[in-house]
Amino acid sequence: MKRFFGKETNIEKYSKLHVELVYACARKLQDVMKHFYEGKFDLLDKEVEELSRLEHEADEIRRKMEIEFYNGAFLPFDREDRIILAELVDAVSDASQSAAYAISLGKINFPQSFKEDFEELTEKSCETVSVLRECVSLLDTDLSAALVKAHEVEAKEEQGDIIERRIICKLYAAYRKKEISILKFIELKNITEKIGNIADRAEDASDRVPIIVAKRRG
């Protein structure tokens, strides 16, 4: 693997740590969901607190990274792109946190007939963030591989969209058949969209990667 700046810089370290924390937020959401399915709201709230801590930590790392960008060896055009990328990656953890808060505030009894669907959607969003994590890590070592991963993020996000649409259709059907109340329907639809939004934000971040690759290859 080619390393562009010889040894690993602080920025590379922060960048990897940042995207790891963002990924940890998405994974933590899976723990939140487990308690949500079981209706264990005390445990759920503890996981939400932990997710918030991770999100805050990711914010701190991003700030440190941004300071390094101004001090470091990056060329001005690359610096701008990397700062934008860091902000876009950060939006992924914000999306995880937003989904967790929606679940925690709603505190609705989860209808078990939707469990598999929500597990699938959450897993797909996590997978998308996982690929984004690989993509960002590769930016400093292998641009071609990073580009391939960026396209993979897009594909995963599309798969997530399909699951999201399927769940929303199923929610509407359950609501019309009066299997779920209107308030539960709205809460679950909102949560579905928020979980789907995690992959959407990951895709937004990955969309920046081809720009960085193109500029670096000049």
Partner: protein, 217 residues
């Protein structure tokens, strides 16, 4: 709005005639407006208040008395109801029209430029107090997300609902019309709106501003 203007009355008569003859509204409106040399405001008045007899009859049949919301889910088309009630409370009757389909509409069309004002809280209080008298099971109060201050308004609606003991939620949405239409399919749902597109797609609706207008008169 010069509603009593003879020219507009005649134009409305002609437009109604053409619509009853199944002419397309867009073409008929343009034809009639050009004949009577109507300005933009007058065209807007005709577009929003004149309908064919069959369309008016169809919508009138869907109008539900407010006491029928008891024990039902009430979906409120928030800005649509709020803006019209605000105009009525302001006494801005120039823009308020009782349309062919017996629905009260505000023709100002300030929707995109809506501003939170000193009357907003009063209007919301009065709307939700009126609703609370008829004890709906749940309320879903929709607000358009892209409109300024929708977040602030959502908080205010939740506060008032809490004080009045109303059960429900405020939903910010980018596509209120579509969401209301999709949720209105159940027989235990009543929609509060004057939006023609929504009315044409729901089973029944309640015209909340008409209750304020009747009290004013």
């Amino acid at each position: 709005m010069q509603i009593k203007n003879g020219k507009i009355k005649e134009a409305a008569h002609d437009l109604r005639f053409l619509l009853n003859r199944k002419y397309r509204k867009k073409n008929a409106l343009e034809f009639v407006s050009n004949k009577y040399l109507l300005n933009r405001q007058e065209r807007n008045f005709l577009a929003r208040s004149v309908f064919s007899k069959s369309k008016s009859d169809e919508r009138r049949a869907k109008i539900t008395n407010i006491d029928e919301i008891e024990g039902k889910i009430l979906i409120v088309d928030g800005y649509n109801v709020l803006i019209t009630v605000e105009s009525i409370l302001y006494g801005d009757f120039d823009s308020i029209v009782l349309c062919d389909d017996n629905v009260v509409r505000d023709l100002k069309a300030v929707f995109g430029k809506y501003k939170f004002s000193e009357i907003t809280e009063i209007a919301l209080n009065q709307i939700l107090t009126l609703i609370s008298r008829y004890k709906p099971l749940n309320i879903v109060f929709f607000l358009d997300n892209p409109v300024s201050f929708s977040g602030k308004l959502a908080g205010l609606v939740m506060d008032i609902m809490g004080k009045l003991g109303l059960k429900g939620i405020v939903k910010l949405s980018k596509n209120v019309d579509m969401e209301i239409k999709a949720m209105a399919g159940r027989e235990d749902v009543v929609v509060a709106t004057s939006d023609s597109v929504i009315i044409d797609n729901v089973n029944k609706f309640v015209d909340i501003p008409s209750y304020f207008l009747n009290n004013k008169n």
